[in-house]
Symmetry: C2
Subunit: 143 residues, 2 copies
């Protein structure tokens, strides 16, 4: 057995800088279960394995795709144990969420367009004819 090169462990400042993340965020992610508790130096300083930076990149990508930190934690966790179709299912669910959000934004956009087109000049006492503001009030069912 070669003396297994354990050199490249990183301290938290290095991980934070390379991943473009605050150090506090690393501890926060650790509390949230996104990062495993790293090994420690004799004095208690964290020593991260080098893959941590890549993992943080993945986390940021997943966040960008609309997953909450809890969801990311769960995905990392199940993916660590065994590859499952969970990720695909969750991604499809996110797509549906996004479609709903886009649909909602689109109707809001239409209402705003009507407000602009009608020339509304006041929220409370609009003087424009056929003011669409009351109608905008009716569409209060969120997705």
């Amino acid at each position: 057995m070669s003396p297994e090169p354990e050199e490249p462990y990183l301290r938290s400042g290095q991980v934070a800088e390379q991943a473009g993340v605050n150090i506090q965020t690393l501890r926060y992610y650790e509390r949230r279960g996104l990062l495993a508790e790293p090994r420690r130096s004799p004095g208690g300083h964290r020593a991260y394995p080098p893959g941590t930076v890549a993992l943080l990149t993945v986390i940021k990508a997943a966040q960008r795709l609309g997953f909450t930190l809890d969801e990311v934690a769960a995905l990392i966790d199940t993916g660590r144990r065994h590859p499952t179709p969970d990720l695909r299912a969750q991604a499809q669910a996110k797509i549906d969420e996004i479609d709903a959000k886009i649909a909602d934004l689109t109707t809001v956009r239409e209402s705003l367009t009507q407000v602009v087109a009608a020339g509304c000049d006041s929220l409370t006492g609009c003087t424009c004819p056929d003011c669409p503001l009351p109608a905008a009030a009716l569409a209060d069912t969120m997705y």
Copy 2:
């Protein structure tokens, strides 16, 4: 002069119920400047003019259209003094915001579609060929 019918003043519970809002929310809106300080009963209970319910409906409509409470307060305030084109300008700005948001959601949606289509099975160690997850990580510029 007729003895001016000041009857229909509402107490906070009535306003809250008719507007579908929590009583605490009324006091919160008062603090935030969305509702003027109402007159009080001899014992200190709030007595709201009947138009308050309609105003709350307007506030909820504006919120639904994407305006923050601060923006709504400002719109109510300027609209109270004199009709201005502010509302139209703000509405147009909101439309632009919404367009940006929709565009962003659309690119995220595309990334998710690729993840599903490629059959990704793990965030950390995906075994699918040409895994799009690293690419999804690159698109990290928010709107």
